[in-house]
């Protein structure tokens, strides 16, 4: 439906007073998806770095998978951003004339840095030995050509070169951690630094975003790992998922505590905007925030995962708990992004009224496009798993970083 048409339909649904320009929501579901996707990237990467930097050997089976998941989502991340621009063809400007006072301008270089200098380089260094071997033994010639290209013309996999790769890879992971923090933290800062919007403006926003991102990334990799094991008819490494489950619980607890602290402080200080925000939470955001984000997406997984720590459950039960908790928290964290982005635009900056948002099905910023954006990383991941399997391939001396 045409924008103007939608606005005429929205006009009678306004409650109270809004500034005349506020009827149209500026940021749609696409901007809900962007923090969600970069959050998954950051979370998956941090899970990978647990093994590499902090030597949590139990999660080794998911190391390469986490990197590929991070890459698949990172490649999709700029798509919702570009699609929602008024002039997508001018998107390059953010690389060429970034305004150093703008939080959003950081996107250009933080994204490029993270993609090229951290993620791609780390994946390449980790897989290099396999890539060289596959470029020699792969029977399907187009695939072999791709591997040959990826070797960058060097086929040296001597002990020394591999140990250089290992040291460099570790260094990159160490740099990669703050880079991942920056990649998602700046998104939180984009919202947290908008003093005009009291629902967004808080110094806690980057931290809240980061910890819920970690929870979503860990949950995502957990689900993908368990799903892939089932698909490949391979046994799930229970020690691995037990450890991931612990980290998931920690991430959810921290994220939830910060979110609650934010709300409690806001309620306690009861500044000018408190009245309209109370109406917001009790009204337009009741289902998505109280029910989905908090009860279903945070409290329930915490109880489930917590009970797995306290009680002795069978392996089967634990796997079900992990799968269920991961799913619920992924839904809850998507709801959280919705509540922040869309919720913050529901109420007027006059603090005297509400506008409305109708998620269209079709159209550039509609639900179908949103769903496609969420599905696309899995298609890319399938391609990456085909090209760079984390497990055994044709070579008999496949890297020992693969899972069982």
């Amino acid at each position: 439906m045409d924008t103007i048409q939608m606005l005429y339909e929205a006009l009678p649904k306004v409650a109270g007073y809004i500034y005349p320009n506020e009827l149209e929501l500026q940021w749609s579901v696409l901007i809900v998806l962007y923090p969600y996707i970069t959050g998954l990237v950051a979370g998956a990467f941090i899970l990978a770095s647990l093994e590499r930097v902090f030597n949590v050997t139990e999660v080794k089976p998911t190391y390469r998978l986490s990197l590929l998941v991070a890459l698949a989502f990172l490649l999709v991340a700029p798509i919702p951003l570009n699609l929602h621009l008024g002039h997508p063809e001018r998107g390059f400007e953010i690389f060429f004339t970034p305004n150093k006072t703008s939080a959003m301008a950081m996107f250009g270089f933080v994204y490029l840095w993270y993609l090229l200098a951290v993620l791609l380089l780390e994946i390449w260094l980790d897989y290099r030995k396999d890539i060289v071997l596959w470029s020699q033994c792969e029977p399907f010639w187009p695939k072999r050509m791709v591997y040959k290209l990826m070797t960058l013309g060097v086929s040296n996999i001597s002990e020394r070169s591999l140990s250089i790769d290992d040291k460099l890879g570790r260094a990159i992971t160490v740099i990669g951690l703050p880079s991942a923090v920056l990649l998602h933290g700046y998104v939180g800062f984009i919202f947290g630094s908008v003093k005009a919007n009291p629902w967004w403006s808080t110094p806690l926003m980057p931290v809240i975003f980061l910890f819920s991102a970690m929870a979503s990334g860990i949950a995502g990799v957990l689900l993908i790992y368990m799903g892939l094991c089932k698909f490949r008819k391979v046994l799930i490494d229970i020690k691995c998922v037990d450890t991931i489950g612990k980290y998931l619980l920690s991430a959810i607890v921290v994220a939830f505590s910060l979110e609650m602290l934010e709300l409690i402080q806001m309620a306690y200080e009861a500044e000018e905007h408190f009245d309209i925000i109370t109406l917001l939470i009790e009204g337009r955001l009741f289902i998505s925030m109280i029910c989905i984000q908090i009860l279903m997406g945070s409290v329930t997984p915490m109880l489930l995962l917590g009970s797995a720590q306290v009680f002795r459950f069978s392996e089967m039960t634990r796997k079900v708990i992990y799968g269920l908790s991961a799913t619920l928290s992924l839904i809850g964290i998507l709801a959280m992004r919705w509540n922040v982005v869309i919720g913050g635009q529901f109420f007027s900056k006059s603090l005297l009224g509400f506008t409305t948002y109708k998620l269209e099905l079709i159209g550039r910023e509609g639900a179908l496009v949103g769903a496609a954006i969420l599905v696309l990383p899995f298609l890319i991941l399938a391609g990456l798993l085909y090209l760079l399997p984390p497990w055994d391939h044709c070579s008999p001396t496949a890297a020992d970083r693969s899972s069982k």
């Binding site: 500034y19 005349p20 009827l23 500026q26 008024g86 003093k195 005009a196 919007n197 006059s350 603090l351």
Partner: protein, 253 residues
């Protein structure tokens, strides 16, 4: 530094410490604390400002209409560079604010007039902030504050990310539905640069709106500011607006 013996080191350390201590004594005397900012137009030529006298506004809406005509703003009731709000305060309680089509077509008749205590009109436009959060947030440098104090949008460079619209505390920006770039009141920059008045000032029947040169102490605007008590909107935001309101009620948002 490597072969410093203990005596040399102690000498060095104590001299440094003494110097630092003296510095803390001297600097408060040297630099008197300043609790005000220098006006931004010091040294610059023209610097545009605007004043609205709420007591004079009759809510006819001609300003909003003329603005849309002059600046080719889409006529639909969702895009305004300027608009007029009506405030109604009632006893025992009640605050109603409306701006139907920005005030262009007038306002509906007042209901229950016997309960009304105060009611008045408030024109809104770009606040001409000295510290504009919109300029701060633009990722590509498409919106900026001109040297003569007007916040403008470069239509050819704006990517339409809408961050500036989110950042403006006053709601004066919108995304142009045809050009797909951010748009806002420009103080009729194309008019004031030629010595003409902004369209809204031109057509206001009662002279409720006034623009002028803040750098000139003898301009009508400067004289008005120097002789009246005025307020700005949302001063706690730190945007330092150069749009001032005379006779503004506390309830104005």
């Amino acid at each position: 530094m490597k072969n410093l013996n203990r005596r040399q080191f102690l000498k060095f350390a104590s001299v440094t410490a003494l110097a630092a201590a003296l510095q803390t004594l001297v600097s408060p005397l040297a630099a008197a604390e300043k609790f005000f900012r220098e006006p931004p137009w010091k040294g610059k030529k023209k610097y545009w400002g605007f004043a609205v006298d709420i007591d004079k506004c009759i809510g006819c809406g001609r300003c909003a209409k003329a603005c849309k005509t002059e600046n080719d703003v889409p006529k639909e009731p969702f895009f305004f560079r300027t608009w007029v709000e009506r405030y109604i305060l009632r006893r025992p309680a009640g605050l109603e604010v409306t701006s139907p089509n920005g005030g262009i077509d007038g306002y509906p008749a007042l209901t229950s007039p016997e309960t009304i205590t105060k009611t008045f009109f408030v024109p809104k436009l770009c606040n001409l902030c000295d510290s504009p959060p919109c300029v701060q947030s633009c990722p590509v440098g498409a919106t900026f504050k001109s040297e003569d104090g007007v916040v403008l949008v470069d239509r050819k460079w704006c990517v339409g990310c809408r961050y500036c619209i989110q950042a403006c505390p006053y709601g004066v920006r919108y995304l142009h539905p045809v050009l797909h770039v951010a748009d806002k009141c420009t103080l009729c920059y194309h008019r004031i640069s030629r010595g003409l008045r902004p369209a809204c000032v031109e057509v206001c029947p009662t002279g409720a709106r006034m623009h002028g040169d803040l750098s000139d102490p003898n301009s009508p605007l400067s004289k008005l500011r120097d002789t009246s008590h005025y307020q700005t909107l949302k001063p706690h935001m730190g945007t330092r607006p150069n749009l001032v309101y005379l006779n503004m009620d506390q309830e104005v948002r």
